[in-house]
């Protein structure tokens, strides 16, 4: 059914990803699909990493450890650097899904309030050509 599952992760807010990660790992082992962890970072030092290179290394480790702990299939990490991540993230994730050839995107998502200002999952679900699964954080 699925060959490559993309899972966008925000390393600054790992806690919210719990359920999405588990679902992605379960699906990847069920379908024998490759997992691609995608992270977006700016070029200035952030709370996650001092440099884009450090960010990439952390994402790599994160991907390896989470997949192992949750019994996922094969996994790799994909780091995207951006000039202005706060506004570019939606478009970059949409593009990454296409570029990576993902056939499923599994994203963590919060329960929407009445006027949701920035729903990354909503954007990807609206625009990506592949299947998108939004996993609520509770």
């Amino acid at each position: 059914m699925f060959k490559r599952i993309m899972i966008p992760v925000d390393l600054a807010h790992e806690g919210n990803l719990e359920r999405a990660l588990q679902v992605a790992c379960d699906l990847s082992s069920h379908y024998g699909a490759e997992l691609v962890y995608v992270g977006v970072t700016g070029e200035t030092p952030s709370s996650v990493a001092h440099t884009p290179a450090e960010f990439a290394a952390k994402l790599e480790t994160f991907a390896k450890e989470e997949t192992k702990a949750r019994g996922g299939g094969s996994a790799r990490a994909h780091t995207i650097t951006a000039h202005d991540p706060a506004v570019e993230i939606d478009k970059l994730l949409e593009k990454a899904a296409t570029d990576l050839g993902a056939d499923l995107v599994v994203m963590g998502s919060h329960i929407p309030s009445r006027f949701d200002f920035s729903s990354h999952g909503g954007h990807v679900a609206n625009h990506a050509t592949c299947s998108v699964m939004l996993v609520r954080d509770q």
Binding site: E43, S46, S47, H50, P52, E88, I89, F117, S118
Partner: protein
């Protein structure tokens, strides 16, 4: 420091650098949460203190307008005339510091690591440098300043130059050449090496400590070599808060005053009445476009607008160049460069001069003004300059913009002076700069002396308005980053907040009065910041020395 990094296993940014090891984690003092549908991620306490102190000062200016006006109206000139020697000397140090860095081997250090590649093309980069830092000033002073020095009857001629007009306003042909030369040299002095060196120092410090040393992109990071871990505490909070405060008030007051100027221009060109309502509408319009720009982000908004604006400005420049006679004006550019080269040393001499009106009233004022804007412009330049070597960076932030500014002044000022010489009695420039001082009309008065004035004046007004947008959007990004503790990926509603807040402050001060007094206050912050910048030079030197080359 290098050894510790290797032990900690922090990878190099791109190629070799010398990361600073600190106990501080970026974002450790931040508060995250949600207000209704909006997420936030703000630095505690910089965000709140900056916001509240801005509100407090606006309230002060509105509740006690006379007292605020008297106090700041006294403070600013008092500082610039008492400390003129200090401002002039400091600016000279910044220029020398930058020029020395170009030739020293330290200039080979690359911002972002030895193997980093530039984020932006030269064109996009230049467009953003100009649009954020100077565009609006070039529109306002390009005609005003050279015309003023040329014709001033108020005794503030630069270096006490000779006057080209006698007591009755008749032209003294023999003095024209020398007065014109000095007017262009004195104007170029305020727009070439010195201001750009001020911006370059701040920008270089921030870029170095952020991209190569791994510290957050915030003003306080440049003080790590001096204050050590204390920069993460109250020392740093104060530095960042003052930077936010100066940036926000600098932008808001120039937005308010700019709306008055744009409205005056609209009245002059189209007869649109000059009223508070029209000005408020202008501020709302400018803020709305700036909001769209910050929502579209650095590449999709700020950069695009900057490029459009630079394109328009170049068109206007070429038009004035040919309309006023390209041969004459290019000769003027050559003469302007030569005059600048000849006079820059006497003009920047801080002591033993008699031209108080010029030195204290103009030069020291400008230096304080550029310096009060330097946290904002410097931080913005740093944000877009990753991947350049120090040598490349200084050449492009110092030398090339200086040449462009001298050209601009020679073209716009030269055309204005030509008009004053050719039609002394009915020159619109003469009427609006010397006979009655209406600085905001000087550009349009000059354009009136050339063909197609209705088209070029419209371009002029559009440029003035869009340059305000490009300062406003980049300023909002800078304030947002500082108040988020150096994070550039704080939730988008925060930059919307600062952009809107800036527009509201401008409207409050415009309607209630207090624009001029608070602008005087902002310029006064130039004095403490001058000391800050001098310390930054030392910090840059220390920081560069430890970098692998």
């Amino acid at each position: 420091m290098t050894d510790e990094n290797e032990n900690q296993g922090i990878p190099e940014p791109e190629g070799a650098t010398d990361l600073i090891e600190t106990d501080f984690d970026i974002g450790q003092d931040n508060i995250e949460g949600r207000v209704g549908p909006f997420g936030f991620d703000i630095h505690n306490p910089v965000f709140m203190i900056s916001g509240l102190s801005v509100i407090a000062f606006v309230a002060y200016a509105l509740i006690a307008p006379t007292q605020a006006g008297d106090f700041f109206g006294w403070l600013r000139p008092a500082l610039t005339s008492t400390f003129d020697w200090f401002f002039l000397s400091a600016a000279n140090i910044f220029v020398i510091f930058c020029l020395v860095l170009i030739v020293l081997p330290l200039g080979k250090v690359r911002l972002g690591g030895a193997d980093a590649t530039p984020d932006y093309s030269y064109l996009g980069w230049f467009a953003m440098l100009f649009a954020a830092g100077m565009g609006i000033g070039l529109m306002f002073f390009g005609v005003l300043e050279p015309a003023y020095y040329f014709g001033t009857p108020w005794g503030d001629e630069p270096l006490g130059a000779i006057r080209p007009f006698d007591e009755d306003g008749n032209l003294i042909a023999a003095n024209v050449q020398e007065a014109r030369r000095m007017a262009l040299a004195a104007t170029s002095y305020h727009w070439a090496l010195h201001p750009w060196a001020i911006y370059a120092v701040v920008a270089l410090a921030l870029a170095l400590f952020s991209y190569n040393k791994g510290l957050p992109l915030s003003i306080r990071s440049a003080f790590f070599p001096i204050l050590g871990e204390r920069v993460w505490g109250w020392w740093g909070h104060v530095i960042d808060t003052v930077a936010v405060f100066a940036t926000l008030f600098g932008l808001a007051t120039s937005l308010g005053l700019g709306a008055q100027q744009a409205n005056a221009g609209l009245e002059y060109v189209y007869g649109i009445p000059n009223t508070i309502n029209a000005q408020v509408i202008l501020i709302i319009g400018i803020t709305a476009v700036a909001l769209v720009s910050v929502l579209r982000g650095l590449d999709g908004g700020v950069k695009v607008l900057s490029e459009i604006n630079m394109g328009l400005a170049v068109l206007l420049l070429i038009f004035v160049l040919f309309a006023a006679g390209a041969g004459v004006i290019l000769t003027e550019f050559g003469r302007g460069l030569l005059a600048y080269a000849q006079e820059v040393i006497p003009l920047s001499n801080p002591v033993g001069r008699e031209d108080d009106g010029y030195r204290q009233g103009w030069t020291a004022f400008y230096w304080a003004w550029w310096i009060s804007w330097s946290p904002f412009v410097g931080m913005f330049i740093a944000r877009v300059s990753r991947g350049r070597t120090v040598r490349e960076f200084i050449t492009c932030v110092l030398i090339i913009p200086s040449l462009v500014c001298i050209l601009w002044m020679a073209v716009f000022g030269g055309a204005a002076i030509n008009d004053m010489v050719a039609n002394t009695d009915d020159s619109a420039v003469m009427a609006n700069v010397i006979t009655s001082y209406s600085p905001e009309l000087s550009l349009f008065a000059m354009l009136e002396s050339l063909p197609l004035a209705s088209i070029t004046s419209t371009i002029g007004i559009v440029l003035v308005i869009v340059f305000f947008v490009t300062s406003s959007d980049s300023g909002s990004l800078v304030i947002d980053t500082i108040t988020a503790g150096g994070k550039i990926d704080a939730p988008v509603p925060q930059r919307v907040f600062w952009c809107t807040f800036e527009g509201l402050v401008a409207i409050a001060l415009l309607v209630g009065g207090g624009l001029s007094s608070l602008q005087a206050m902002v310029i006064s912050t130039g004095l403490p910041f001058t000391i800050v910048l001098l310390l930054m030079c030392w910090a840059i030197f220390q920081g560069l020395r430890s970098e692998p080359r």
